[in-house]
Amino acid sequence: MANLRAILTALPLVLLAVPLARAQDAVAASAAPQAKPPSDDGLQRVQVADPYVEIRTGPGRGFPITNVAKKTEWLVIEIRHTDWFKVRTEAGKEGWVDRVQMENTLTEAGAKTSFRDVLVDDYLRRRVEFGGAWGHFSSDPVLKLWTSYNVTEIFAIEGAVGQVQGSYSGTNFWQIDLLAQPWADKRLEPFFGIGVGRIQNVPNASLVSAVTTNSNMANAMIGLRYHLGERFIARVDWTEYTSLVSANRTDQYHAVTAGLSFFF
């Protein structure tokens, strides 16, 4: 009798405990990551989520496809060259996969990786820009190259060198400007800059008793930028240069240039 009572009291307890335990097990099982081979030498490993990805022999769209990696297969990413990723399959085969196909693969955490894609986001977050422009500097052709670094979204520092090919002399200059781009998130945006630099005027060797002048210079610039797409920006700018030749003489030059730059 006492045994029966003991069993009767214990039974509901057991019946209650079992579903609770099973619930905890189920939660633990869903949290555990699915089995994967151990990762090697710090290279990123992704899993194919599409039915298959195509593996080519070289980093270009014309190279032949010699291999495919099927769904749930793991790929190790070795290196990236422009938009192509060199991967190694589990079987040890190496080849190149393009970025569009890589974007649909999953990382070890089970999430899609965002591979570097030149979208508007990249344009908005651009830091370094290299560019060149051609134009007119006081009616002579000028060639200008610049590098700019976006310190914040609105302010940038730009260094430029320029070369003017005149009929009787050549002028070369360098400048460092502070640029303000208040509408940096627009595709077509104006920008303003002020800066200082040095300007050097070298007359042609064939001229007699011509003097080379080397002086400090200040400049003010206003320009327009247009994001062409991918990594390229077109630019037009107007600059006023004031060359401080001597204590009581300043020369003014006006330059208009149009050019192209790329950012990364």
Binding site: L43, G58, F63, H81, K86, T107, F130, L143
Partner: protein, 211 residues
Amino acid sequence: MRSLPFASALFVPALAGMFFVGAVRADDTQVIEPEVARRDVQVTHIPSNDVEMGLFTGTYDTQNFGTNLVGGLRLGYHITEDVFAEAVYGQTKVSDQDFRLILPGGIFPQPHETLRYYDVSAGYNVLPGEVFIGRTHAKVSAVYLIGGVGITKFDGANHETVNVGTGMRVFLADWVSLQVDARDHFLSLNLLGQRQETQNLELTAGVTFFF
């Protein structure tokens, strides 16, 4: 002893209640708190080799003056699989020996002048592909067209130069390539009082490293 069944009857719900008491929150929205182990996700940096740096040497023909050895450095960035940008610095010697035979004093202050050029060019891989060496080796290659602008420092003055060229690059491995380049530099010189458009042809071969 009669109280025992009653106590045991209460014992079971009480014990069951203890299982739940830790799980029920004040607002009673969640019955069970899941125990999920937090995973550390480390996003690995994928190495890239879009930047190239190289050396080259070859011949540079200065119009009217003769051909001489040229050497230089190359720095470039591959933007897409088709387009790349390249900055080049090269140096060569120009001699006016031929003129000194006819014109006493020559044209330059010294018999040999150094010519230096810098240029920035944009290149386009028109024919990417593979080249085959023997039976078992295939190397990635690209024939490209390149054009750009720059400066030629010569005879004490800077001359604006436009360069147009073509070349071929063969990748020995992912990180190194051999490059053969033919360029034509267009510039205008004013050495003897008359402005003249000159073309300087350059043919070089070099090694380029990608990192």
